[in-house]
Protein backbone atom coordinates (compact mmCIF):
# COMPACT_ATOMS: atom_id res chain seq x y z
CA UNK A 1 0.00 0.00 0.00
CA UNK A 2 1.18 3.50 -0.72
CA UNK A 3 1.75 5.90 2.12
CA UNK A 4 1.33 9.05 0.10
CA UNK A 5 -1.65 9.70 -2.13
CA UNK A 6 -1.52 12.76 -4.28
CA UNK A 7 -5.14 13.22 -5.36
CA UNK A 8 -7.29 13.94 -2.32
CA UNK A 9 -10.79 12.53 -2.17
CA UNK A 10 -12.67 15.00 0.00
CA UNK A 11 -16.00 13.22 -0.49
CA UNK A 12 -14.98 10.34 1.73
CA UNK A 13 -14.51 12.78 4.65
CA UNK A 14 -17.99 14.18 4.08
CA UNK A 15 -19.43 10.67 4.18
CA UNK A 16 -17.49 9.71 7.30
CA UNK A 17 -18.47 12.98 9.01
CA UNK A 18 -22.19 12.50 8.28
CA UNK A 19 -22.06 8.87 9.41
CA UNK A 20 -20.40 9.91 12.68
CA UNK A 21 -23.12 12.51 13.31
CA UNK A 22 -25.91 10.00 12.58
CA UNK A 23 -24.36 7.33 14.82
CA UNK A 24 -24.02 9.91 17.62
CA UNK A 25 -27.69 10.83 17.30
CA UNK A 26 -28.71 7.16 17.35
CA UNK A 27 -26.61 6.64 20.51
CA UNK A 28 -28.18 9.64 22.26
CA UNK A 29 -31.68 8.60 21.16
CA UNK A 30 -31.61 4.94 22.27
CA UNK A 31 -29.09 4.90 25.12
CA UNK A 32 -29.20 1.19 25.69
CA UNK A 33 -25.98 -0.65 26.37
CA UNK A 34 -25.79 -2.66 23.14
CA UNK A 35 -26.44 0.40 20.92
CA UNK A 36 -23.89 2.47 22.86
CA UNK A 37 -21.10 -0.11 22.67
CA UNK A 38 -21.84 -0.78 19.00
CA UNK A 39 -21.97 2.96 18.27
CA UNK A 40 -18.65 3.61 20.01
CA UNK A 41 -16.99 0.79 18.04
CA UNK A 42 -18.36 2.06 14.72
CA UNK A 43 -17.26 5.64 15.45
CA UNK A 44 -13.80 4.58 16.62
CA UNK A 45 -13.31 2.43 13.51
CA UNK A 46 -14.37 5.25 11.17
CA UNK A 47 -12.09 7.79 12.88
CA UNK A 48 -9.03 5.55 13.00
CA UNK A 49 -9.32 4.07 9.50
CA UNK A 50 -10.33 7.17 7.52
CA UNK A 51 -9.61 10.33 9.50
CA UNK A 52 -6.30 8.99 10.80
CA UNK A 53 -5.58 7.32 7.42
CA UNK A 54 -4.65 4.03 9.01
CA UNK A 55 -6.41 2.29 6.13
CA UNK A 56 -3.81 3.67 3.72
CA UNK A 57 -0.78 2.54 5.71
CA UNK A 58 1.03 -0.74 5.18
CA UNK A 59 -0.76 -3.81 6.45
CA UNK A 60 1.90 -4.67 9.05
CA UNK A 61 1.64 -1.17 10.51
CA UNK A 62 -2.17 -1.39 10.56
CA UNK A 63 -2.01 -4.67 12.49
CA UNK A 64 0.65 -3.32 14.85
CA UNK A 65 -1.45 -0.25 15.74
CA UNK A 66 -4.76 -2.09 16.01
CA UNK A 67 -3.24 -4.71 18.29
CA UNK A 68 -1.37 -2.11 20.36
CA UNK A 69 -4.28 0.29 20.82
CA UNK A 70 -7.48 -1.73 20.59
CA UNK A 71 -6.34 -5.01 22.09
CA UNK A 72 -4.39 -3.59 25.02
CA UNK A 73 -7.00 -0.88 25.76
CA UNK A 74 -9.74 -3.51 25.89
CA UNK A 75 -7.50 -5.79 27.95
CA UNK A 76 -6.68 -3.00 30.41
CA UNK A 77 -10.32 -1.95 30.70
CA UNK A 78 -11.50 -5.57 30.88
CA UNK A 79 -9.03 -6.51 33.61
CA UNK A 80 -9.93 -3.57 35.84
CA UNK A 81 -13.60 -2.69 35.41
CA UNK A 82 -15.37 -6.07 35.92
CA UNK A 83 -13.76 -6.46 39.36
CA UNK A 84 -16.15 -3.74 40.53
CA UNK A 85 -18.93 -6.30 40.31
CA UNK A 86 -17.44 -8.57 42.97
CA UNK A 87 -16.66 -5.78 45.43
Amino acid sequence: METTRAAPDYKIYLKVWLTLLVVTLVMVFFQNRAVLIGGMMIKATLIVLWFMHLLYERIDFILLMVVSIAFFSILLFGLIAPDGLVM
Binding site: T3, T4, R5, A6, A7, P8, D9, Y10, Y13, L14, V16, W17, L20, L21, T24, L25, M27, V28, Q31, R33, L36, I37, G39, M40, K43, A44, I47, V48, W50, F51, M52, H53, E57, R58, I59, D60, F61, M65, S68, I69, F72, S73, I74, L76, F77, G78, L79, I80, A81, P82, D83, G84, L85, M87
Partner: protein, 203 residues
Protein backbone atom coordinates in the same frame (compact mmCIF):
# COMPACT_ATOMS: atom_id res chain seq x y z
CA UNK B 1 5.62 16.80 1.14
CA UNK B 2 6.22 13.64 3.04
CA UNK B 3 9.74 12.31 3.44
CA UNK B 4 10.46 9.90 0.64
CA UNK B 5 10.23 6.32 1.83
CA UNK B 6 13.57 4.66 1.35
CA UNK B 7 12.47 1.12 2.00
CA UNK B 8 10.39 -0.59 -0.61
CA UNK B 9 11.21 -4.24 -0.19
CA UNK B 10 9.08 -6.78 1.60
CA UNK B 11 6.49 -6.18 4.24
CA UNK B 12 8.82 -5.67 7.18
CA UNK B 13 11.23 -2.92 8.03
CA UNK B 14 14.62 -4.10 6.89
CA UNK B 15 16.78 -1.21 7.94
CA UNK B 16 17.11 2.15 6.24
CA UNK B 17 15.89 5.48 7.54
CA UNK B 18 12.14 5.08 7.15
CA UNK B 19 10.38 2.25 8.98
CA UNK B 20 7.00 1.32 7.50
CA UNK B 21 7.61 3.83 4.73
CA UNK B 22 6.57 6.80 6.85
CA UNK B 23 8.34 9.80 8.34
CA UNK B 24 9.83 9.34 11.80
CA UNK B 25 7.65 12.19 13.11
CA UNK B 26 4.50 10.40 12.05
CA UNK B 27 5.69 7.08 13.46
CA UNK B 28 6.55 8.66 16.81
CA UNK B 29 3.15 10.37 16.93
CA UNK B 30 1.54 6.97 16.48
CA UNK B 31 3.62 5.53 19.32
CA UNK B 32 2.62 8.46 21.49
CA UNK B 33 -1.04 7.82 20.62
CA UNK B 34 -0.66 4.20 21.72
CA UNK B 35 0.60 5.25 25.15
CA UNK B 36 -1.97 8.03 25.48
CA UNK B 37 -4.79 5.65 24.53
CA UNK B 38 -3.67 3.35 27.35
CA UNK B 39 -3.74 6.29 29.77
CA UNK B 40 -7.39 6.91 28.97
CA UNK B 41 -8.16 3.18 28.93
CA UNK B 42 -6.80 3.07 32.48
CA UNK B 43 -8.93 6.06 33.45
CA UNK B 44 -12.09 4.57 32.01
CA UNK B 45 -11.20 1.17 33.46
CA UNK B 46 -10.92 2.54 36.97
CA UNK B 47 -14.09 4.57 36.43
CA UNK B 48 -15.87 1.37 35.32
CA UNK B 49 -14.52 -0.47 38.36
CA UNK B 50 -15.79 2.21 40.71
CA UNK B 51 -19.12 2.56 38.99
CA UNK B 52 -19.89 -1.17 38.78
CA UNK B 53 -19.12 -1.51 42.49
CA UNK B 54 -21.13 1.55 43.44
CA UNK B 55 -24.64 1.31 44.84
CA UNK B 56 -25.54 4.99 44.60
CA UNK B 57 -24.04 6.20 41.34
CA UNK B 58 -25.97 9.35 40.32
CA UNK B 59 -28.49 9.27 37.49
CA UNK B 60 -26.31 11.07 34.95
CA UNK B 61 -29.36 12.09 32.93
CA UNK B 62 -30.34 14.30 35.87
CA UNK B 63 -26.89 15.81 36.40
CA UNK B 64 -25.73 16.53 32.84
CA UNK B 65 -27.36 18.68 30.20
CA UNK B 66 -27.23 16.04 27.50
CA UNK B 67 -28.21 18.42 24.70
CA UNK B 68 -25.13 20.56 25.47
CA UNK B 69 -22.86 17.50 25.55
CA UNK B 70 -24.32 16.26 22.25
CA UNK B 71 -23.61 19.61 20.59
CA UNK B 72 -20.06 19.49 22.02
CA UNK B 73 -19.68 16.05 20.45
CA UNK B 74 -20.93 17.37 17.10
CA UNK B 75 -18.49 20.26 17.25
CA UNK B 76 -15.52 17.99 17.99
CA UNK B 77 -16.47 15.50 15.26
CA UNK B 78 -16.88 18.36 12.79
CA UNK B 79 -13.49 19.82 13.70
CA UNK B 80 -12.00 16.37 13.14
CA UNK B 81 -13.59 16.32 9.67
CA UNK B 82 -12.19 19.75 8.79
CA UNK B 83 -8.78 18.57 10.03
CA UNK B 84 -8.97 15.56 7.72
CA UNK B 85 -9.64 17.91 4.80
CA UNK B 86 -6.69 20.10 5.86
CA UNK B 87 -4.39 17.06 5.87
CA UNK B 88 -5.61 15.94 2.44
CA UNK B 89 -5.15 19.49 1.11
CA UNK B 90 -1.63 19.60 2.58
CA UNK B 91 -0.73 16.37 0.80
CA UNK B 92 -2.05 17.83 -2.44
CA UNK B 93 -0.01 20.99 -1.90
CA UNK B 94 -3.06 23.29 -1.70
CA UNK B 95 -1.74 25.72 0.90
CA UNK B 96 -4.71 28.11 0.78
CA UNK B 97 -7.12 25.30 1.58
CA UNK B 98 -4.85 24.02 4.35
CA UNK B 99 -4.96 27.43 6.06
CA UNK B 100 -8.75 27.73 5.73
CA UNK B 101 -9.45 24.31 7.17
CA UNK B 102 -6.80 24.55 9.90
CA UNK B 103 -8.54 27.78 10.92
CA UNK B 104 -11.94 26.07 10.99
CA UNK B 105 -10.49 23.24 13.09
CA UNK B 106 -9.08 25.73 15.60
CA UNK B 107 -12.44 27.49 15.82
CA UNK B 108 -14.10 24.11 16.47
CA UNK B 109 -11.63 23.36 19.25
CA UNK B 110 -12.22 26.75 20.86
CA UNK B 111 -16.00 26.31 20.72
CA UNK B 112 -15.64 22.89 22.34
CA UNK B 113 -13.46 24.34 25.13
CA UNK B 114 -15.90 27.21 25.72
CA UNK B 115 -18.79 24.80 26.01
CA UNK B 116 -16.79 22.66 28.41
CA UNK B 117 -16.14 25.75 30.53
CA UNK B 118 -19.90 26.34 30.63
CA UNK B 119 -20.49 22.71 31.54
CA UNK B 120 -17.91 22.76 34.35
CA UNK B 121 -19.28 26.05 35.68
CA UNK B 122 -22.80 24.62 35.82
CA UNK B 123 -21.51 21.43 37.46
CA UNK B 124 -19.63 23.41 40.13
CA UNK B 125 -22.53 25.83 40.64
CA UNK B 126 -24.83 22.85 41.26
CA UNK B 127 -22.52 21.66 44.04
CA UNK B 128 -20.29 19.15 42.21
CA UNK B 129 -16.85 18.88 43.84
CA UNK B 130 -13.82 16.59 43.58
CA UNK B 131 -14.56 15.02 46.95
CA UNK B 132 -18.34 15.27 47.18
CA UNK B 133 -21.48 16.06 45.23
CA UNK B 134 -25.21 16.37 45.96
CA UNK B 135 -26.27 13.55 43.61
CA UNK B 136 -24.79 10.38 45.12
CA UNK B 137 -21.50 8.46 45.09
CA UNK B 138 -18.67 10.72 46.29
CA UNK B 139 -16.36 9.37 43.59
CA UNK B 140 -18.59 10.72 40.83
CA UNK B 141 -17.21 14.27 40.97
CA UNK B 142 -13.62 13.04 41.06
CA UNK B 143 -14.07 10.90 37.95
CA UNK B 144 -15.94 13.69 36.19
CA UNK B 145 -13.19 16.24 36.76
CA UNK B 146 -10.33 13.83 36.11
CA UNK B 147 -11.65 12.26 32.91
CA UNK B 148 -13.14 15.37 31.26
CA UNK B 149 -10.31 17.51 32.65
CA UNK B 150 -7.59 15.34 31.12
CA UNK B 151 -9.47 15.29 27.84
CA UNK B 152 -10.03 19.06 27.93
CA UNK B 153 -6.30 19.57 28.52
CA UNK B 154 -5.62 17.46 25.45
CA UNK B 155 -8.00 19.67 23.43
CA UNK B 156 -6.31 22.82 24.74
CA UNK B 157 -2.86 21.50 23.80
CA UNK B 158 -4.27 20.45 20.43
CA UNK B 159 -5.49 23.99 19.78
CA UNK B 160 -2.00 25.32 20.61
CA UNK B 161 -0.37 22.76 18.28
CA UNK B 162 -2.83 23.66 15.50
CA UNK B 163 -2.18 27.38 16.01
CA UNK B 164 1.56 26.80 15.64
CA UNK B 165 0.93 24.67 12.56
CA UNK B 166 -1.27 27.41 11.07
CA UNK B 167 1.29 30.13 11.80
CA UNK B 168 4.02 28.03 10.16
CA UNK B 169 1.80 27.51 7.13
CA UNK B 170 1.17 31.26 6.91
CA UNK B 171 4.91 31.90 7.11
CA UNK B 172 5.42 29.40 4.30
CA UNK B 173 7.53 27.15 6.52
CA UNK B 174 5.05 24.40 7.32
CA UNK B 175 5.30 21.00 5.69
CA UNK B 176 2.55 18.57 4.69
CA UNK B 177 4.12 16.11 7.10
CA UNK B 178 3.73 18.61 9.95
CA UNK B 179 0.05 19.10 9.19
CA UNK B 180 -0.48 15.37 9.05
CA UNK B 181 1.20 14.71 12.40
CA UNK B 182 -0.79 17.51 14.08
CA UNK B 183 -3.90 16.02 12.46
CA UNK B 184 -3.20 12.58 13.89
CA UNK B 185 -3.10 14.07 17.39
CA UNK B 186 -6.32 16.02 16.81
CA UNK B 187 -8.19 12.94 15.53
CA UNK B 188 -6.97 11.03 18.55
CA UNK B 189 -8.50 13.65 20.86
CA UNK B 190 -11.78 13.15 18.99
CA UNK B 191 -11.38 9.37 19.31
CA UNK B 192 -10.98 9.59 23.08
CA UNK B 193 -14.09 11.76 23.32
CA UNK B 194 -16.11 9.03 21.55
CA UNK B 195 -15.41 6.74 24.50
CA UNK B 196 -15.83 9.39 27.19
CA UNK B 197 -19.15 10.45 25.69
CA UNK B 198 -20.34 6.84 25.48
CA UNK B 199 -18.97 5.49 28.75
CA UNK B 200 -19.30 8.47 31.04
CA UNK B 201 -22.28 10.49 29.82
CA UNK B 202 -24.58 7.96 28.16
CA UNK B 203 -24.22 4.54 29.82
Amino acid sequence: MEATPSVTTGSRWQGGVSPWGMSWQKMMMWWFIVTDALLFAGFLGSYGFHRLGSTNWPDTGEVFHLSLITVMTFVLISSSATMAVAVAAARAGDRAKVKTFLGLTIVGGLIFLSMQAIEWSAFIADGGRLHANPWGDAGFGAYFFMVTGFHGTHVLLGVVILLITLLRQRAGKGTANGVEVAGLYWHFVDLVWVFIFGCFYLI
